[in-house]
């Protein structure tokens, strides 16, 4: 049986708050990832994340249950405030986290120089998808794992893994960036704040709605980014998932991406076979009930693969959770190339 030769995938789940961390651990996460309550992480939304004391307590609690804690320190330090990122790196080391997830050379070099014992994972925000780029971070900073950009197919991952000396982690569920992660400034062009600059995309304080003639228009800093019949529920109004008019055409459409959500559960076996070490669920902003349900379903699917069964039985469990209620296997099957 082939399954016996492939190590079980590590299930990495989002923890946007201490309560969500607890829910993920109890639902069967192997690892959880979280961030501090500030702009040092890429989910800097009001009401989310951890204080240093909360992180320390949560890490102890998770470790008692055999679950690893990964700390996302994955934005780019502001030139006028690098100390905030340094202090967060130090607090992560004090809390005893199992790894720090970083993208900025400033953060990576600080960790290597001051906390050489703390394991480093390369954030998806570094957009490192080639053996050369990944090897760069491994050589210079001793990065042990790369979170893969959400643009690679299973086949591409299969040819990538033997060429690099680090583990890989692949997103398998949740929201998808249309653009290369960490290389997108659309949000700051409209609003002044972006993932790289401030850890937020399409920040909630810049979003507004106007109702007119039975339609609701969504705006980001005044730019109309979508329009839906009143009462119809859309996902979070992320700029790149809005509707625009391209090339002078009269019709507005989803120019960059249809509002779909990633679900690669059916590909878990293929990802494991391609050499992927860990699979990641997106959604620190999504809440406790959400993370419990998604974690449980993926735990069951990974365990099924371990028994030599197909994970597809568990796939339909989550259909109603997707943003915009439609799912895709994303780039993994690369139908768009």
């Amino acid at each position: 049986m082939t399954a016996a030769r492939i190590p079980a995938l590590e299930l990495v789940c989002p923890a946007g708050s201490p309560a969500m961390l607890k829910a993920a651990v109890e639902a069967g996460a192997d690892s959880v990832y979280c961030g501090f309550r500030d702009e040092t992480n890429a989910r800097n939304f009001p009401g989310l994340n951890f204080s240093p004391a909360e992180l320390r307590a949560a890490t102890d609690w998770a470790h008692e249950r055999g679950t690893r804690v990964l700390l996302a320190l994955n934005t780019f330090a502001r030139a006028d405030a690098p100390d905030l990122w340094r202090a967060s790196a130090d607090a992560a080391a004090v809390a005893g986290v199992d790894a720090v997830i970083a993208a900025d050379l400033a953060v990576l070099s600080h960790m290597r120089a001051n906390h050489p014992g703390v394991r480093l994972h390369l954030s998806v925000q570094a957009a490192a998808g080639t053996p050369e780029a990944i090897s760069f971070y491994a050589r210079e900073y001793g990065v042990k794992r790369v979170v893969l950009p959400r643009v690679l197919s299973v086949e591409e991952i299969r040819s990538l893994t033997p060429e690099i000396a680090v583990e890989t982690e692949a997103f398998v569920y949740g929201g998808l960036c249309v653009m290369a992660e960490g290389r997108c400034a659309l949000s700051s062009y409209a609003s002044g704040r972006s993932p790289n600059l401030s850890g937020v995309c399409s920040p909630p304080e810049a979003v507004s709605f106007t109702d007119d003639h039975g339609e609701r228009t969504t705006r980001l800093s005044g730019f109309a980014i979508d329009r839906l019949p009143a009462g119809e529920v859309g996902g979070y109004p992320t700029l790149c998932k809005g509707r625009f008019r391209g090339g002078g055409s009269g019709e507005a459409g989803y120019l960059f991406e249809d509002p779909v959500s990633l679900n690669a559960m059916s590909l878990l076996g293929g990802l494991a076979g391609a050499g992927v070490t860990a699979v990641k669920i997106e959604g620190r902003q999504r809440g406790r009930a959400y993370v419990a349900r998604v974690t449980k379903a993926f735990r069951a699917a990974i365990d099924a693969i371990g028994r030599g069964e197909s994970p597809e039985l568990y796939e339909s469990l989550l259909g109603d959770l997707a943003e915009g209620a439609r799912e895709t296997t994303g780039a993994y099957r690369k139908r768009w190339r």
Partner: protein, 310 residues
């Protein structure tokens, strides 16, 4: 030392890499004029957006490089911003490994292949602070073209910490805002990227993208998304010198780039105010309304009113 920056210190001009899919003969004509008529010291050459376009331009760019060098310009080869296929990776690695030419690294793959030989770090590398710039300088970076999101205050912080690093500023053109491995332009035409018919060649300054209400917002150039607005520095040239900037990048567009570079030449020499520069650029027909918000730490789309009193 930065402390030695004086009024009148050099402010060189560079033509950035051509971002758009222009026909090979148009490209060659463009660079021939730059070689003969534009008061710029440096020209960046190379396809940085889409690897599929690379073979179309190879010969035209090689001839353009000779022409530019004969015209006294320094040619720097820019690498692809998002290399992915084995062919794209090999091309980037070959460029980076060539010790006879300076290169501009478009991503960390190129830095890996190039270091420790000298290189320019392009605006699409994520360098947001002094420690990151110091890391690249340690690896051989001699010049950094600041990421377009960076305000002048951040550029000054980097300059103060890295006195030996030259700093270049994206001073003119639609802002490169995002990259994708999916082609929005092919998608709009109902085509797959692998059979895209190079539809991006219809839009020499990018395809305009408007909001539902018809307001100009973005521009699509194959895999790249740019701003609809056209970036233009709007501070006195002395303020740029004080922030440590010593080179201004002019990104090629379909308007008269020789005229644009002459205007910037006068601005860099202190003979033209930012207001007069903006008025003159407006008269040349820029690809979108003039914007400058990023330089001031505001939204990038924030406009310049060229007619406002200073």
């Amino acid at each position: 030392m930065r402390a030695s920056i004086k009024p009148g210190a050099p402010m060189d001009l560079a033509i950035g890499p051509l971002l758009f899919n222009w026909a090979a003969d148009r490209v060659e004509t463009f660079y021939a004029r730059i070689a003969d008529e534009a008061p710029v010291g440096t020209v960046y050459l190379g396809e940085v957006v889409c690897g599929k376009r690379q073979p179309l331009l190879q010969d035209a760019l090689a001839r353009s490089a000779e022409r530019l060098e004969a015209g006294g310009k320094t040619v720097i080869w820019s690498t692809l911003a998002l290399p992915a296929t084995p062919r794209e990776r090999r091309l980037a690695a070959e460029l980076a490994a060539d010790p006879d030419h300076l290169i501009e690294a478009g991503d960390m793959s190129a830095v890996w292949s190039r270091s420790p030989s000298p290189f320019v770090a392009g605006p699409l590398l994520n360098v947001y602070n002094a420690p990151a710039a110091e890391e690249l300088a340690r690896m051989g970076c001699v010049r950094l073209c600041a990421n377009v999101e960076l305000p002048l205050t951040s550029i000054r912080e980097i300059a103060q910490a890295c006195p030996d690093l030259e700093l270049e500023l994206f001073a003119f053109g639609r802002l490169p805002l995002a990259l994708s491995s999916r082609c929005a332009q092919a998608r709009m035409e109902g085509l797959h990227r692998d059979a895209c018919r190079y539809v991006c060649d219809r839009h020499p300054d990018g395809m305009n993208v408007a909001t539902i209400e018809g307001e100009g917002f973005l521009a699509v150039n194959g895999l790249q998304t740019l701003s609809h607005g056209c970036q233009l520095v709007d501070v006195p040239v002395e303020a740029l010198r004080a922030a440590g900037v010593s080179m201004l990048r002019l990104s090629p567009h379909s308007l008269d780039m020789v005229a644009v570079s002459h205007l910037f030449h006068d601005y860099a020499a202190g003979r033209t105010t930012p207001q007069d520069l903006a008025l003159a650029i407006e008269a040349l027909g820029p690809p979108g309304p003039l914007v400058s918000g990023y330089l001031h730490g505001a939204a990038g789309a924030r406009g310049i009113d060229a007619r406002a009193t200073p």
